[in-house]
């Protein structure tokens, strides 16, 4: 069960969030220039070397990760033809709803995540109102909440699925 893709899915999401963080760092640090005259306009983006490395490194790793990720979904669907999942489904992929026991632990994990957001979102909103933060730090705050959401969910599910068969 621990190897079930739906159990590992939050780890994948956390990895994608970290990669997105690197992309956000690169993109928010870019210099932009807009020139407009009577004949038209030009728009240029200028990356410094470190930001370029982060951006292209993150894009490359994301591309490889998405390939592996889709392969994993495909394998999961082959192994569990009656519990197929899709990258494009609206319901979160991490929900375990094979039976009433699994639905119960999914609900408990989701409740913990909900409790986290009840406190974290207002706190983040207050921080953004009080401090004049650069755009990157605002994005980083949102990504941190998203990361925590998946971490809380994953740890709760793992806690219940940790024991081997007796």
């Amino acid at each position: 069960m621990k190897k079930d893709f739906r159990v590992q899915y939050p780890l994948w999401q956390m990895a994608f969030i970290v990669l997105f963080g690197f992309m956000a760092f690169s993109i928010t640090g870019v210099s932009t220039e807009l020139n407009q005259n009577s004949q038209g306009f030009s728009y240029s983006l200028e990356f410094n070397p470190i930001e370029s490395i982060f951006l292209f490194g993150a894009l490359f790793i994301s591309f490889i990760s998405i390939l592996i990720f889709t392969r994993k979904i495909s394998n999961h669907n082959k192994q569990n033809p009656d519990q197929k999942i899709s990258m494009w489904q609206i319901r979160p992929l991490e929900y375990l709803e094979q039976d009433e026991g699994m639905t119960h632990i999914t609900r408990r994990a989701a409740q913990k995540v909900y409790t986290f957001f009840v406190w974290a979102l207002p706190l983040l909103a207050v921080m953004y109102m009080v401090f004049d933060l650069p755009r990157f730090w605002m994005i980083l705050g949102i990504l941190f909440l998203a990361l925590m959401q998946y971490l809380i969910y994953y740890l709760e599910i793992r806690k219940h699925l940790g024991e081997e068969e007796e």
Binding site: E100, G101, H160, E166
Partner: protein, 69 residues
């Protein structure tokens, strides 16, 4: 809290968690959750488990502080 004899009866009947789970149509983990008291099963699942052990539901489950029949 709901108490139960699932683990005891499962051992008596020689079932693994996986075998009992298969017989009643749930995952092995759900049997584990019930045995540990982490989860109170529905009436339907309780009836299915009790039927496997050839006893009634109130012989299998009881409320904490009350004696099982």
């Amino acid at each position: 809290m709901l108490q139960n004899r699932v683990k005891e009866l499962r051992a008596r009947f020689g079932f693994s968690q996986g075998q009992l789970a298969e017989r009643v149509g749930v995952t092995r983990q759900t049997i584990g959750f019930i045995e540990k008291g982490e989860f109170s099963p529905s009436i339907t699942l309780s009836l299915k488990i009790a039927r496997e052990f050839e006893i009634t539901v109130d012989e299998l489950f009881w409320l904490e502080g009350e004696k099982s029949i």
